[in-house]
Symmetry: C2
Subunit: 342 residues, 2 copies
DNA sequence: CTGAAAGCGCTTACAG
DNA sequence: CTGAAAGCGCTTACAG
């Protein structure tokens, strides 16, 4: 049996309350002498407080949930983007003595269960649709501190951090426009009124408006953000949209797939078609030619998420609005000036 | 205030003990009538049991820890390999009503703290050195069920799942030998007496013995498993080991880096030099030419880890030895017959 | 089939 | 600066 707080107390000849105060660093309530004595005993026994007991008594678990949609029953797919965030989150939380519980969410009701069951102090929602976040009500979440990453929901129950997706779409299109392209396809998953993809799309459209060009809506190409879907899309574009000279894709994997599809159809990149990806994932610089892409700062995004969470837990004032981080266009080898018609 | 078990009990006009039995599915102790009545009330209130209270009273947390080394203070780097495992683990555990706590481990002592604090029922150790696992003692881990992935430690406190790394190294080398190569470099991180890399190395050597060829130890090239380190290694090999006609690398990222280094030095792959990677990560098929590599089945590995854990938690007999999964060589574009000396 | 009671290991006013 | 006591929300023998 590992020692309990009571064991430590009786060995030190003090009350459990005093040991509790020492462990929790309540300086004001314990003399230096007894504190040192207790600390030595704690050390010697390798005493570790029971988090369940603590959580039960203090009504605070010091657990933050990381909630990720689990479409599939068998596996959460952690995108490279998600995986990059997880590591930073864990460390940052750990430094503040919080634990991270990872939870896949298959049905909306599971959010409530996840929060309530372990009495989470906070949770980070990663990769949820805005609609799901909109639907959250106080009765679902209690007063758990919630941070939604990459969300455009304005549900006040969740703080939001995201990259400037509108600027990202705009940057990508603008660069291509500047290179002389006009027949630019937009490739990405279906989107609704709000959300990351919608924002990138609007930014993309804005770039056309900026230079006074008109965009042909038939160049909107719906495709999942996977390499396989990209391959199909590339083939499709080559076959039925031969006038396209450039493509903006909403994810690097998609862009890479499109490159392959184009190649299979006999088109060269960037000779015949220029292409811009999104995220600056590892693959962006593994392909040949290296992918021009829109980069976001994942570490910064995670760091902000943690700060928002901790501020909220400490009762500090919350920001007025969502926190939006800058993005940057990384120009590599898949973009070139439009080839003048022969 | 969310309802407690007591609230449910008094509303149903029964004792807390009975509600507890219903919630825990103890069929034998409750009549169908009262069970249904209670379940309806539970449903209506959206009652969620407090996991801390449960954990405290039952001495079982139903939490499994996922312990990952955190060298860096700021971030756990989840390799693609690790990220692939995490998703499967979470779902499989969830299906059995376990929760997953993700914890980065910077100092050995943190293992104990992690296990004890939340009274973990089990833990999966991911990516630890054998030496760290060897060092685990009963007093550190109590009777927590432990599964070490990719470990070759024979510490009986941890069950082990791993791929057949020896076979992997052997397969890779054998294929190159069959293609006529003899001057084959082995590129990978420094290794000690045991461990994944050591096994691959031994397998590599075995392949030479299999065909009665002699390996020149100067062709052992130590490099971290990153693309950057690979680039350097590629440059180094081109400059100081010009006789090398093939390379086995212990990771895909390393192999890809080496390809770049070789290219920078004016060598072609697979024209001048063949190369085999390890893992079949995404990047393996993103590069040009596509990387020949040794693939392991991550889903299977995670699934076995969970099964070992659950078996142990259910008190079922443990396997006699470590579970070893098969690997396969995926031949793609980076391997070709040795070019006959001009 | 059901309930009363003790207890899991802490924290938190409150009193001194 | 320190302690006695109640309580957090469950589970678990035990008795009936």
């Amino acid at each position: 049996m590992p020692p309990t707080l009571k064991d430590i107390a009786s060995e030190a000849g003090v009350s459990p309350a005093t040991v509790s105060n020492v462990i929790n660093g309540v300086q004001a309530r314990v003399s230096t002498d007894t504190r040192d004595r207790i600390l030595r005993i704690v050390e010697r026994h390798g005493y570790v407080p029971s988090a369940s007991a603590r959580s039960l008594a203090a009504r605070s678990s010091r657990i933050v949930g990381l909630l990720v949609p689990a479409a599939d029953k068998d596996s959460l797919t952690l995108s490279p983007h998600t995986a990059g965030v997880v590591g930073t989150l864990e460390r940052a939380l750990r430094r503040h003595d919080y634990h991270l519980m990872l939870r896949g969410i298959a049905r909306p009701a599971e959010v409530t269960e996840a929060l309530r069951s372990w009495n989470l102090d906070g949770a980070v929602l990663l990769g949820f649709h805005d609609a799901d976040i909109d639907r959250l009500r106080r009765r679902h979440v209690g007063d758990v501190a919630l941070v939604a990453m990459d969300a455009y929901s304005d549900n006040p129950l969740a703080l939001a951090v995201r990259s400037d997706d509108h600027a990202g779409g705009r940057l990508a299109a603008r660069r291509l426009l500047d290179l002389g392209h006009r027949r630019i396809a937009f490739a990405g998953p279906a989107f609704s009124a709000t959300g990351v993809v919608r924002q990138r799309y609007e930014g993309f459209r804005q770039a056309f408006a900026d230079v006074g060009a008109v965009w042909d809506e038939r160049l909107h190409c719906v495709a999942d953000t996977t390499r396989t879907a990209g391959r199909d899309a590339g083939l499709r574009i080559a076959a039925s949209l031969p006038e396209v000279t450039a493509i903006v894709a909403t994810a690097d994997a998609l862009a890479v797939g499109i490159m392959e599809g184009l190649a299979a159809a006999g088109k060269t990149v960037p000779g015949d078609v220029s292409i811009v990806g999104y995220d600056d994932a590892d693959i962006a610089s593994f392909v040949t030619p290296k992918l021009t892409t829109v980069a976001q700062d994942l570490r910064a995004k995670s760091a902000v998420a943690v700060r928002l969470l901790l501020d909220r837990l400490a009762g500090r004032p919350r920001p007025e609005t969502a926190v939006t981080l800058e993005v940057a266009l990384i120009e590599r080898g898949t973009t070139a000036p439009v080839r003048r018609a022969a």
